[in-house]
Symmetry: C2
Subunit: 337 residues, 2 copies
DNA sequence: CTGTTAGCGCCTTCAA
DNA sequence: TTGAAGGCGCTAACAG
């Protein structure tokens, strides 16, 4: 036998309206009746039906989280697990449920709003040209992207990619590196392009050479970072430093360098991007541009909830600062040559 | 203005009951009226409210997924992301939503059933002595654990851990290794103990020595695998082979071995457990006991849905077979000594 | 095969 | 401060 608000009302000798008020912390209830009701609630083990409440209030109390499809390798990146934990943690605090979807079969995001399953949407790993987002914006459905896309009015939260990359490469330049290679992910994602631009602009400001053979695209996994580095090592002279636009690429690349019998950082210095847990454990520990991943998750939730509840209006575009974490892989100032 | 079933009914000149029948594919509707109704549905852009349906049918159409708390390092293991993709993929097929929770603050699982937010629960990374599970079982709430626990009547899906470990270690023994070390995760998780038991029993069957200094506990991360191996290497003579109860430990351990200037597999052979993507990319590629991770995810969903819909009854305990994937790290037969 | 009716369990006016 | 009544949008009997 299911417990309902009516049973509580009867046992507490009040109307169900009053029970509802007590449960929703309405101020206009006597302390006495509140206690009486709560006593019955406890004894009965009553929990209000989420579905009934949601139907009446017309709120789903739910945020949808869309993750890349199973065949998309990028999802293995620890960045995602970390930001998801940020989401889950903060959603609980804000009293929203988190619904998980994979982005398969040209998924129509709006439908989740139409059938009122979600109040808002969080999307991670969305490609820059995703058209579905435009529709969300036009319909004014609350959503936040993790990472900028081409659509100008999109709501997103991101890190200061260009600046982070710029600082990393400048750091290498100031260490007297003249030939700095770049390994980074696909430009399908804007953040990858921005990091590349940060790299370029640092080269320029330091009057360093730029060459096609110094830049290599990768799919942001250790494997492909490894392959990318092997290609770079085929050209000579080889670079004295590498900036990788994400840590997994950096880690894979370091492996290729070691395999060749070269030393890090003496022969080739390294800087990555993200600061995943693994980074500090590398040998040598990886210097990297830290993104505040967990915080990006919690911030995204707070912002989204603000949009849902109407406190925040207009396009939301937030970029969180990054921080250069200096470890051994970037080495000391370079004297020779 | 929100679209409701009434509007569709009016425009299609039928009752809302008929609209409902059409939408739920009831067989007793004329093809003609079905078409008429569907036409209106399309034109109007009508989607039935999930919440209203759920309230009426008293089904949440939702499965809860409980992941380890943010401070729990084990969640970074690629095993989890992979199985979650299996869950998400299959849940969609079965038309269930997946609700994500982190296991914080002595979370009372049953509450999710009380307020009817979920029809069933999937729990990953649950420790062997978790008392909350007993309550779920007693109340006959549908749930599935990923990984066995101490409670005998628990529903779980797992891999054949003992057998997988046994085969791996036997393989090493047959390669003529006499001194085989073990690195594995905490016995807080039953699967870790089972893998250890598989190791022990293989040693026994091959009349090999067992020594405390040959076994090292780790928390299943690369870092701790690395540390564990460094400790093992301090004893002499050092082992000629290592069985690690998960790939991350194996990968970390291999790093420690290489650092010492030892060769893999010539000086020390390695076998891991899981077959995460990274395993095949190692240098040398890691021989490992493959768990069918994605399949464990889809199987769990199917089983859980069966329980929810009453087609499956009683305690469900499934162990999926593992497979030894032989790569370079385990080496060839050992002649010397 | 289709329509009518009656809830599902809750919140929210409106009166008292 | 409390109660009565109505309705959220849908499905499920039960008639017809």
């Amino acid at each position: 036998m299911r417990k309902t608000i009516d049973q509580v009302a009867q046992l507490a000798k009040v109307s169900k309206a009053t029970v509802s008020r007590v449960l929703n912390n309405s101020p206009k209830v006597t302390e006495e009746t509140r206690e009486r009701v709560m006593k019955v609630v406890k004894e009965l083990g009553y929990y209000p039906s989420a579905m009934a409440r949601r139907l009446t209030t017309n709120k789903a109390e739910t945020i949808g989280l869309i993750i890349p499809a199973p065949h998309d390798r990028t999802f293995g990146n620890p960045f995602y697990t970390e930001i998801i934990r940020g989401f889950a943690h903060q959603a609980k605090i804000k009293k929203y449920d988190l619904l998980l979807f994979t982005n398969e079969h040209k998924f129509n995001y709006s439908q989740l709003f139409y059938d009122r399953r979600v109040d808002g949407l969080l999307l991670i790993g969305v490609k820059r040209n995703d058209k579905g987002i435009i529709q969300l914006s036009k319909k004014e459905f609350p959503y936040i992207l993790t990472g900028k896309i081409d659509y100008e009015d999109a709501n997103y939260i991101d890190a200061e990619n260009r600046r982070g990359a710029y600082r990393a490469v400048s750091y290498l330049a100031n260490l007297n590196h003249k030939k700095i290679a770049y390994i980074g992910g696909s430009f399908e994602f804007v953040f990858n392009q921005e990091r590349f631009e940060g790299y370029l602009s640092a080269l320029q400001d330091h009057n360093l050479e730029y060459g096609k053979e110094l830049t290599m695209e990768s799919i942001s996994t250790q494997e492909s970072g490894y392959e990318a580095m092997r290609k770079i090592l085929k050209f000579s002279p080889i670079p004295t430093a590498v900036f990788a636009a994400n840590d997994l690429d950096a880690i894979g690349a370091m492996k290729a360098v070691k395999e060749k019998g070269l030393r890090i950082p003496e022969d080739i210095a390294f800087i990555g991007f993200d600061d995943i847990q693994l980074a500090s454990f590398m040998d040598p520990p990886l210097t990297t541009v830290r993104q505040p991943i967990f915080e990006m998750g919690t911030t995204a939730i707070n912002l989204l909830v603000g949009m849902i509840e109407g406190r925040v209006k207009g396009a939301q575009q937030i970029e969180l600062p990054t921080q250069l974490i200096i470890r051994k892989s970037s080495g000391k100032i370079r004297m020779c040559k």
